[in-house]
């Protein structure tokens, strides 16, 4: 029995709303979450034969509430009478606005500071994204039992932290939103940096991250960083088919076939950025999106406005200092001022303990040495970088660059 994609996406949208309604009414996040998951499975089985109910949200809330109460009854039989009274007023009468708010509150709850990033991503995908534990486990390449334990631990930690199902206090809101955005960013990256095409399930993670970021953007349309993150994801995703060969090897930005970039996604991202950057304070996601948009503007790699890319990285370095940002700025600087100037920036990074022996530092140095014509040194750095990376795809790419320079001659 399968459901069509419209019903599937309806269920995905409704899952966090139903969970929100239940948690708001009954508390007990962990128990509610189990009841909602079971109900979604029940709907998947029932709706193809019985037809989608006229009020699907009401149906889900009613069935999930009954399941929850059945479970609580069997847990604490003596409380049965009280729960029957509670059941008489189901929370299905809430308006649409409350439903959408619930999705956001649920995101805040799943990205609770008591949880590690790995737990935040897992719980968000399950409770807000409506993915099954098996699907999440598959996407992260771990056994289902491992993921089930992680999710269950996450729910217990939220309970232990005494967190309530409500909007965070105004003074906490910025930090909590940052945590939500970071989690969505991690989910996106996990899908995007997936090695080859052999794991198609991971591509779904990028779609799920974009879908959830859209939900947050609909709720907070005036937040520049939310719009910036959405734009960044869309711009990155626009290059998906152009960034690897059919055999899964990486194609660097400069060598990608730009006619294969998805213009619809780029246009959407551009209008998001134009709207938001004019009226919101600048933040790291907006700047990264602006850099990606600058690349997207160039029909050919040679037409890239490197001056602008360099300025944007400088701004990013100022508001969110990080050696990786400096490394990227060095690459832009090489295009505007030559490889020697960029190599000087790298000398400063050598002293940074966070970059000690980092393969990206070797890879960029290799590229700059290659630009300056020092092929033997470039080759050596490519090999060092290849040994340092933990990504198979990246390693293959770096090794092939090294072998192109074999013998120290011209390419």
């Amino acid at each position: 029995m399968t459901i069509d994609s419209a019903t599937e996406s309806l269920l995905r949208d409704l899952t966090p709303q139903v969970l929100g309604a239940l948690v708001r009414r009954y508390g007990q996040f962990e128990e509610c979450e189990d009841a909602v998951q079971e109900t979604v499975v029940a709907a998947t089985l029932a709706w193809p034969t019985s037809g989608t109910p006229a009020n699907p949200r009401g149906w889900l809330i009613t069935v999930a509430s009954r399941r929850l109460i059945d479970q609580i009854r069997s847990d604490h039989a003596r409380k049965a009478r009280e729960m029957t009274v509670a059941l008489e007023e189901l929370p299905s009468a809430e308006g649409e606005a409350a439903a959408a708010d619930d999705t956001l509150i649920l995101l805040y709850l799943c990205c609770h500071p008591a949880l590690t990033p790995a737990s935040q991503t897992a719980l968000t995908l399950r409770a807000v994204g409506g993915l099954t534990t098996a699907e999440i486990a598959h996407a992260f390449l771990v056994p289902e039992g491992t993921m089930a334990a992680r999710i269950s631990r996450a729910k217990q930690s939220i309970k232990a932290a005494g967190s309530q199902f409500r909007m965070p206090a105004p003074e906490e809101l910025d930090d909590r939103l940052s945590a939500v955005l970071h989690t969505l960013y991690l989910i996106f990256n996990e899908g995007y940096t997936a090695s080859s095409g052999e794991n198609l399930n991971r591509a779904e993670l990028t779609h799920e991250a974009i879908r959830l970021t859209r939900v947050v953007h609909r709720q907070l349309p005036n937040d520049g960083e939310v719009a910036g993150l959405l734009a960044l994801m869309l711009l990155t995703d626009s290059r998906r088919t152009a960034r690897t060969t059919t055999s899964g090897d990486l194609i660097p930005l400069a060598e990608q076939d730009r006619t294969r970039w998805d213009r619809t996604l780029i246009d959407e991202a551009n209008s998001l950025l134009v709207g938001t950057m004019a009226r919101s304070p600048l933040g790291p996601y907006q700047l990264q999106a602006a850099i990606a948009a600058t690349h997207a503007d160039a029909q050919r790699a040679e037409e890239t406005n490197w001056q602008q890319v360099h300025v944007l990285y400088k701004l990013l370095e100022r508001i969110a200092p990080n050696p990786m940002v400096t490394l990227n700025r060095a690459v832009a600087l090489a295009q505007t001022s030559g490889p020697e100037a960029a190599l000087e920036v790298l000398t400063d990074l050598d002293a940074d303990p966070r970059m000690k022996n980092h393969h990206r530092l070797h890879a960029v140095r290799a590229y700059l040495l290659e630009m300056s014509g020092d092929m033997p040194a470039a080759r050596e750095q490519y090999m060092l970088a290849a040994r340092g990376t933990a990504s198979m795809t990246e390693r293959r790419y770096l090794e092939s660059r090294a072998s192109q320079l074999a013998g120290g001659g011209a390419r």
Binding site: H138, L141, A149, S195, A390
Partner: protein, 123 residues
Amino acid sequence: MKFLLIMNVNPAVLDALTEDERNAIGTGHGAFMDTITKSGELIITQALADPSQSAVVRVRGGQSVVTDGPYLEAKEYVGGFYLIDCESKERAIELAALIPDASIDGLGIEVRQIMFSAGPLDV
């Protein structure tokens, strides 16, 4: 991030342990497994049979040549491993320190990142 926590074993060191110390190691592994199972970090752990029972296979000119014993004659050999999925290398190192072997003179746990995984996961 996935890591293999490799337990290097030295039989001379193990033989010198008292009965109590050996029991403590067993209990320690039980507690460690419990910790990382509940936290959702354990993928699998396996202990390997003695290397004297190993066979080394080499194919030369299409012919298999099989010799008994380990690949390398060494004082230490791989006795077993934990395959884990955790937050960071720092966390992997923190977990490795919880393995009882890490606290024994002459033994140590190697933390090695996984680069590629394939195969049915629910082994």
